[in-house]
């Protein structure tokens, strides 16, 4: 069974791709295709994680940072858009780089949704937080990201970007009605939630920026973690 598993997964993936393409071309039904594309977007980073030689210390480090990001979401469950996850993912990516940031964001989304309920939104959240980490890791050496103001602005922007990515899975169910009007309506209706998320990002980044990155950088140097 274990030997058969890999070909089986490939076969199922090909079959699903075929079905999704048929549905998209024949009925203009894009839901399945969008899910598959998301899966394809998540795949490369996780494949690299599987392939690369990873010290057990680094694996544990990634698990701790994802878990802390996931835990931080629980006390704020009552407030709909206040999610410290984004801030923590951005800060972790700032210290440990793009790839680690993507994995921390995606795993934090998956793990925190055990408490909040898995749903069709889980892969979208994994993607959105993963991308927040990835972009923070890419930009960590730019001069403005090193400034406090630049990082706060980055967090603010990601508050909105996160909401916009999450709106896609909703818009995609109405391919016939797709127009700028619909997009504007969807984005306008989520504006206050996105704004709350953006402001809470700025708030958490402002509190955590100095001390948190300091602790992480010290650990990174002391144990020689994820240095490339």
């Amino acid at each position: 069974m274990a030997r058969l598993r890999f070909p089986l997964i490939v076969a199922v993936a090909l079959f699903l791709t075929g079905l999704a393409l048929t549905a998209a071309l024949k009925d203009r039904h894009y839901m399945l295709l969008s899910l598959l594309l998301l899966g394809a977007a998540l795949l490369p980073v996780f494949l690299r994680l599987e392939r690369r030689k990873l010290e057990s210390r680094e694996l544990v480090l990634l698990a701790v940072l994802s878990a802390i990001a996931a835990v931080s979401r629980i006390p704020f469950a009552a407030l709909p858009s206040v999610k410290p996850v984004s801030a923590l993912v951005i800060l972790s990516a700032y210290v440990f780089g793009a790839e680690a940031g993507f994995i921390i964001g995606a795993v934090a989304a998956l793990v925190s949704n055990i408490y909040f309920g898995q749903g069709p939104w889980t892969p979208w959240q994994m993607f959105a937080w993963g991308m927040a980490g990835l972009s923070a890791g890419w930009l960590r050496n730019s001069w403005w990201m090193k400034k406090r103001g630049g990082m706060l602005l980055f967090g603010f922007l990601w508050g909105f970007l996160f909401g916009w990515i999450m709106n896609i899975w909703y818009i995609i169910s109405l391919p016939e009605a797709f127009s700028w009007g619909l997009v504007m309506t969807a984005y306008a209706s989520s504006f206050y939630f996105d704004l709350a998320h953006a402001l809470s990002n700025v708030f958490f980044l402002a509190i955590l920026a100095g001390g948190w990155t300091g602790v992480l950088q010290r650990f990174r140097r002391k144990y020689g973690l994820l240095q490339d």
Binding site: L54, L62, G117, S173, A177, G211
Partner: protein, 314 residues
């Protein structure tokens, strides 16, 4: 208690929910969608998830309902114009399409309530542990850390309160700084200890060879039979759908719903697929009730039939 469909092998649950998701995303025929929705509600009620369903319902109805409203407002294609709203034609086709999409979204939402109950994360991880061992290990460790960190944070808060570090008191600036201190203590403590765990993993030989996986799930004959039945009854509608049966065309012009012999075969097979798990759950409830009525003395062996995670016949 875990019994019935929930106690089966993870592959069964994964196949069932993946199949339902696939059907919801592919077959837009209203009869199929309503059947799937009804089957899911039945399954949720049999699994005792009625309260969960009621709690989430307002949110789900709001999300799905807004799709039904938005579609006719922004899509004006279609031949049957019902009326004009702000000089924009509202067409019958757009209203129907919106309603169908509402059904699709509702189905997906309900599907995930049942999924969350049946396929818990450890089962999901088991299914992927062999294909992606590092990711699975990483995720499982993170899942295990969540309750641990919550407990630790509570401990830290209690202890630091004696030093006057308390997020509940003082000016906003002080409270923010205190919250930051608490989190930093948690981070340092957890990282320091977790890295020791990592070293101990390495000392015990992690990473030398391929990670072996241990599973507590064994496939018995019932699992295999249900898996086979689900696979067959799920494949028939899929193949027929690829042949073009069960299509419901709304745009650009609504076509009358056809229900010929192809659709009949497809529908019967589809019903079988949807109703197997509710049937299994129903059987458990029925067995439980009849066994209570008979009231077995403790020495009499009970008839083999009730399935649960801990029953010795697995």
């Amino acid at each position: 208690m875990s019994s019935g469909f929930r106690a089966m092998h993870p592959a069964v649950g994964l196949l069932y929910y993946a199949g339902l998701l696939l059907f919801a995303a592919l077959i837009t025929h209203p009869l199929f969608l309503i059947t799937e929705l009804a089957g899911l509600i039945l399954l949720l009620l049999l699994q005792g998830q009625g309260r969960q369903l009621l709690r989430g319902l307002p949110f789900y109805l709001l999300m799905a309902g807004s799709v039904a409203v938005l579609n006719p407002l922004f899509s004006h294609r279609g031949a049957h114009i019902l009326f004009y709203l702000w000089d924009q034609p509202i067409t019958l086709e757009a209203v129907l399409y919106g309603l169908i999409m509402m059904l699709v979204l509702l189905t997906i939402f309900l599907l995930f309530i049942s999924y969350n109950y049946t396929v818990t994360t450890d089962k999901f991880m088991y299914a992927f542990a062999a294909a992606a061992p590092k990711t699975a290990l990483l995720t499982l460790m993170a899942i295990r850390f969540v309750p641990l960190f919550q407990r630790r944070l509570r401990e830290i808060t209690l202890i630091q309160r004696f030093r006057g570090i308390d997020v509940g008191e003082g000016s906003l600036r002080k409270r923010m700084r205190d919250g930051m201190t608490l989190l930093k203590v948690l981070l340092t403590w957890s990282l320091e200890e977790a890295l020791q765990t990592g070293d101990s993993m390495k000392a015990r030989g992690y990473g030398i060879r391929r990670r072996s996986t241990y599973s507590i799930y064994k496939m018995d004959w019932l699992d295999k039979a249900v898996l086979l039945l689900l696979g067959l009854s799920g494949l028939i509608p899929l193949i027929l759908w690829l042949q073009g049966y069960g299509a419901f065309e709304i745009y650009p012009r609504m076509k009358p719903l056809v229900f010929g012999s192809g659709e009949a075969v497809m529908y019967i097979s589809f019903c079988l697929f949807v109703l197997i798990p509710p049937g299994l759950e129903g059987k458990e409830i029925w067995l439980w009730r009849s066994s209570r009525r008979k009231a077995y003395p403790s020495v009499t062996p009970e008839p083999n039939g009730t399935r649960s995670m801990s029953s010795p016949l697995r």
